[in-house]
Structure formats: C-alpha cells, structure tokens
Symmetry: C2
Subunit: 417 residues, 2 copies
C-alpha cells in the first residue's frame, strides 16, 4: 500500500485522558481512533493487524475441528432469564418500539446452547464444537486501559459439547494447546502463563492465559519450584501458598488476561434441558466447555509487550505489512527505483507499506516508520543506489545492512518464510 494514499496520519497530539501504553501508541501511529471511553474505531492499519490475528485464530480453531458460526448480538430477554443471568449489571439492555426487552450479548451460552440442542439428539451427534468472532458488549465501569477493556470489543468465543467428562477433558487439553499456538504466532508466548483460576461451582479450576506486562491490571502468583501460576482469587483462598508444594515463596507479577477456558459441565444444559440419548439408551445431560479470546485485547497486549520508546515493534506474523519500503529523497532515480521495487514486490504477492510521500523529510519518514513498527525497513536513497544497493534494518535491531538490489526479492522472501 502506498503511504501517500493511506488516509490516516501519525499524530503527536494525544488527549491526556489516554493513559494506557497500547492506546497511546496505536492512536499516535494511526491504527485506531477513540470514539468514546471504551470504544475504538479500527483504522486501515489496525484493521490489517486485526485481520491477521483473526486469521491465526480461525486457522487454530478449524484445527481443533470447530465450526464457525455467527450469532446475533441482540438476544431476547427470555433466554437470559432461563439461566438466571438477566439480573447481571454488566449486560447492556434495550427495548424495541413494541416494548420487548433484549440483551446485547457479552457471551453467548444463552444462544448457542438451545441452537445446538436443535441438532444434537444422540451420542452419535457428539462432540460438537462451534465458534464465532464477533463484537461483544459489556457495561464496563473501568475503561481506562485502551483496547484492554472496552464497552464494545471483538471476541472469539468457542463452545464445545460432549457426551462425558473424559471427552470434555480431552477437548479442553486440545484447546489449551491451540491457545498456546495462537499466542506464539502473535509473538507473546514467552510472556504468557497458563494460570489457575476459579472453576465456579462446577470444576476445581478454570484456566486463564495471563501475559506479563509492565502496566498489567491483574496480578498472578508464580511458584518458581512448581512452575505454576495462580490468579488472585485462588491464591487468596490458598492463603498465599502454592497449591502444589505449599511454599510461600511466590513471585508476584503484573499481567493482562488474554484468554480463558472453562469447563461449564452441565450448567447450561441443565438450564435449557439439553439431553442426548447415550449408547446405553439412557437420556443424559450434555457437558459443555467454553473458551474465549478477546481479539482487541490481544492486539493491545501485544503492543504493551512489544514496543520501545520510539513506537510499536510488531511480531512478524501479525504486522500490518511484512515490509516497510521507504524512498528517501526526491530525485527521479530514487523514485523510479523505489517504484520498480514496489511493483516487483506486488508481482511476487508480497504486500509492503511503501512510503512514497514527497512532502516528508528523511527524519519524519524514519520517525513514522519506527512508530508504525513494521519489522523490516528497506530504504532506497541516492546514496544506496550509488552502490546498486538498498539498506535494510530490522525494527528490533540497531544494525543497518547494505545489500545488493539484485538480492532484494530473495531476502524478502526468505524473511517472510
């Protein structure tokens, strides 16, 4: 994409209200715009990152045989009364002109359970796993964390349905692994801890995926001996001792919760009377699991983890573009060469952000490039062309390399792999 055509611009002027690292950087760099507290607009660069994350999640969900669906955000009140959750203060409620009541979904057990019930009657129809990627709504009082906590946010929610606990447990472990693949591909695997959390009245534990960040809102407690992490709620119950070895030597760390997985067991199949006929001819309750990842929150967390004082440093697989091509200087020679490189990359199906802006100084182009944070920067200038070369610099390294123009496509292709 030509940067001269990108309608957004980087900005230095930021509201003082904008306190979080993620939203400050993402707004400055032109990835997002703030509409109001807790609600952000995805601009072209932010939308590209979102699509990359969405694609990773979609691939990994399809990889655990989950089928993609899309449920309405507006839900009739009756469904939420059936599960006794209509009373929840976090749910946005509204009325239509006829006076009927609706909830705006912040999770979708109330819709997905009766839906799957219509199609599942026998043990032969199980297991079933369905997911969706969708905007959710939540009447959130704390909205100071940028993309980490909003009144409207993108979620992937997966629901699984099983004939017995063994099958539920097996699938739960499968999803756990898929989640770590997602966080690895998004570049935050090393910082992300599987963390014991409350399982409600149904399981001993559920699991949160907690990512270490300097300004994290959550606290986790890590036992260095057992290599397990425990969330605040559980550790308080445990009187600040490791549930495995009983040690009190725990490390406290600030984190952001990027995902959670939960065995719902028959909590919702009870409410909706969702039975199946088992092999032995008996009617039994279906068992369920649910598994969430907030996509906007994940994107924001990546920025909290991957940045420096100059700007964002995108992990390769979710960068809006793999390459930032910059033409420096206004001479005809530079312009022609940069255009040719850009077109050659397009032909080779390699998307690059191409800084072809004519009214920007060298300093402004480099400052913008560091702020936007594409992992590889390729510069063509009078100076490099004298040697038939281009300059290449990785966003997370200081070293600048001069390479022959003839090797450019090969270098880029190797890097992208």
């Amino acid at each position: 994409m030509r940067q001269s055509k990108l309608f957004t611009k980087t900005t230095k002027n930021l509201s003082k209200d904008e306190k979080s690292v993620n939203s400050r950087l993402l707004i400055k760099a032109g990835f997002f715009d703030k509409l109001m507290a807790g609600a952000y607009s995805y601009l072209p660069l932010g939308f590209l990152v979102f699509k990359k994350i969405e694609n990773i999640i979609r691939e990994e969900m399809n990889g655990v045989s989950a089928q993609e669906i899309l449920l309405p955000s507006m839900n009739p009140r009756k469904l939420w009364e059936t599960t006794n959750r209509w009373r929840y203060k976090e749910i946005f409620k509204l009325k239509n002109r006829k006076g009927q009541d609706f909830a705006l979904g912040w999770t979708h057990e109330e819709v997905v359970t009766p839906l799957v019930k219509k199609h599942v009657h026998s043990y032969k129809d199980l297991p079933v796993a369905v997911y969706q990627i969708q905007n959710k709504f939540r009447d959130e009082l704390r909205t100071k964390s940028g993309l980490l906590r909003g009144v409207e946010f993108m979620m992937k929610d997966l629901y699984s349905f099983h004939k017995d606990e063994k099958d539920l447990n097996k699938y739960y472990e499968k999803v756990k692994k898929a989640y770590f693949r997602i966080f690895k591909r998004c570049g935050i695997e090393k910082e992300t801890f599987l963390t014991l959390a409350s399982g409600g009245t149904f399981s001993k534990y559920s699991h949160e995926f907690q990512t270490l960040t300097f300004y994290g809102e959550d606290l986790i407690y890590v036992c260095p001996k057992c290599k397990i992490a425990i969330n605040k709620e559980i550790i308080e119950k445990q009187k600040y001792r490791c549930p495995e070895c009983n040690s009190k030597k725990l490390e406290i760390k600030k984190t952001v919760e990027v995902g959670n997985i939960f065995k719902l067991k028959d909590r919702f199949s009870q409410a909706f009377d969702f039975n199946f006929r088992d092999k032995d001819g008996k009617e039994k309750k279906v068992l369920m699991g649910c598994y969430g990842i907030g996509l906007g929150r994940l994107l924001g967390t990546v920025v909290e983890v991957c940045h420096d004082d100059k700007g964002i440093i995108w992990p390769k697989e979710i960068s809006p573009f793999p390459i930032h091509l910059i033409a420096l200087g206004e001479t005809k020679k530079v312009k022609e060469k940069a255009e040719k490189i850009y077109k050659d990359l397009q032909k080779a199906k390699i998307e690059a952000l191409y800084d072809d802006r004519e009214d920007k100084s060298i300093g402004a182009k480099f400052t913008d490039s560091d702020l936007i944070g594409i992992p590889v920067r390729i510069v063509v200038s009078e100076k490099t062309l004298k040697n038939n070369s281009f300059e290449v610099k990785k966003r997370n390294e200081k070293k600048i390399k001069l390479m022959k123009l003839t090797s450019l496509e090969k270098y880029v292709k190797k890097y992208i792999k």
Copy 2:
C-alpha cells in the same frame, strides 16, 4: 468438509411463522437458525456463503481504492444530536450504568465524518473512501421477510469524501459499476435494475439496485422504451409517467432492494463543520457520498431468485462449496474410492462437501443435496465404479453424465475456473 461432521441437519419441520421463501429454504437446508423475529444465526453452511459474498464485496471495494475500517456499533448520543437524527424511531437506544445514552448504529455517517475530518485538511488529502462490513441494528416493525429485513443485519457501508462535485460524480459512477460487478458475481445481475430513487434535498436522484423476485416487497416501474427503472416514490411524483419520455406505458415489477448509492453532498460536512483548504487557498466544505449493500439481504435475495421446488440453486461463486461429493451405498469399495477422491480434491485445494454419512438412504442423500443446492453433484456408487466412472449432475440441469474417474480432477478444475 465431511457431512457426517457438520453439526447441523436438514429439517422438514418449520414454524408456520416462517413465511418467506428465503428463510424457509435456508432454515430447512441448515444454513440459518431463527433466534427471534428479525434475527437469524449464521450456521456453518450459511457462514461459508456469507464469507464468499463478503470476499467479493471486499475485492470490489478495494478495487475502487476504498480502505477498510471497523467502527463501533455503540455511538454516543451527542453525535446523533449533531445531525438531528437522534429523534429517529428506527434507532435502538440504550443507557449505560452511569446513565449515558447511546445509539446502536444503523448507518455510520455520524461516526465516520468526524473521524475522517481528523485526517483531512487540504485538497491534497482528498479523495478518501472508507468502508466497513459490520452488523447493523434497526428497530424494524416489519420482520416477516426472513433475511430481507431484520432488527440486526450485516451491512457493507462505504463513505467517500471529495473536493468538488466533479470528483464525487466520477467516484459515484465508479461505485455503480463495482456494484454491478458484485451482483454479477453473486448471480443476480440479470434480475437487478438500477432504479431512480429520491435524492433527498441534495440531489435530483439517488439510485437503488432493485432485484426482481416473485415475492418482492418493493415495486419498480420500468419504461421499456427508455430502459430505465423508477421507484415508487419518484413515479408518484411523476404522476406515473417516465421522467425521460413522458410515456405512461410502464411495466410494474416486484423487487427487493439489494443496494443503494446516494450523494450526500455537504449534508454531514455541514453538521460536523468539516472543511478543507482548496488549491485556491479557500476553506470549503467536503462533499460526501454513501453506498450500502446489505449482505444478509443480498444472500436472501439470491435464494429468492435462485431456487426451485426442491431447494436452493447456488450461483457458482457464492456456493458454500463448489462440489457436493456423494458416496452411495455402504460397500468397502465405494467407501474407499470416495475417500480417495475427497482426499485428492483436498490436496488439489478444492473444497468439497463430502456426504460420507452411513445411516442415510440414497433418497435422503439426493433430497438433501437438492435442498442444500451446491451447483455440481458428483456421485460414486457400486454401479458407477463398475465402469471406473462417476456420475455428475449440475443442480440447474436435469442431465446426468457418466465420466471416467481419471478425468474427475480435470473436470472439477475446469468447472471451478
């Protein structure tokens, strides 16, 4: 995809409330589920069709240099008061716990205009075109038309910003052409008429794209001489005469509106005081256009147009799968051969719906296949295998052809192109 793994099933039991052709067929065939009046859940097959339509629209929007963004559905009241539209009865309104008021967007001029204003200051920054694909909300009283009219529905909304009328007009014509490409790729080009509609107080006309269907809710008036279509509102003003030739010999046709394009001119740049500095140094108001397509409505309209008494007949480019592979009979030989074909297709990156269900009769499999409506059906049975052959039948033809198994992949690849 293996049909045995698809969690949805076809059904014959349909609520009598379900009156429209599109929703009756789409629910029977397992593409959609009705959550409540005016709100449908996309099931795996329906979601696949949706994604194909979305992809076509995305390609055509990118083709007219529009940049994709995503705006929050929840909008603060103040924006809608600025344009004097907060009073509209069709807008769903809600409050948060702090008592603040919000609208659920049914269109997004109120959000996109101040957003683009932040980035556009000079004639050099224009034109700009941005679009999004998103669920919209509308407090709709008539909800009997299935996917054609809902309280929650998927929309593509494009907004363009220009320095003068000439540039707006040029872009408007470009989008008109892109819309016809979209309707062509979705298989309803022949039935779709560009129709003169009211331009509000700003333009003489806007344009609707109206598709002929047997049960259409709208009426259009076609002048066979001038080959133009006029909507009801305009033709009443014209006293039922063609605005070109003044003839009263007009054909009346039932239609569904699948898209509309509108020159907003300075309606919203006035409201938000959105100026730019022109080449002559003067401050001028930005001119806008807006362009909508309802994706769910388009999907429903395709079904209204493309079906017979047995089920849906998907146009090639938006079918959930290009091929329906059916294994008939339980013998080992049939099973092995069908499995091999399915895997060979997968290797060749050709997605097929593979009816590998073992508990279904030949009749049930054919009935389901006709109902689901994939354009090409490939059958492997004891009988065909005796001749090392497969049977191929197109959904919209009666003829059944027997072809050699060795030519299967070649046949499919040629068909897909």
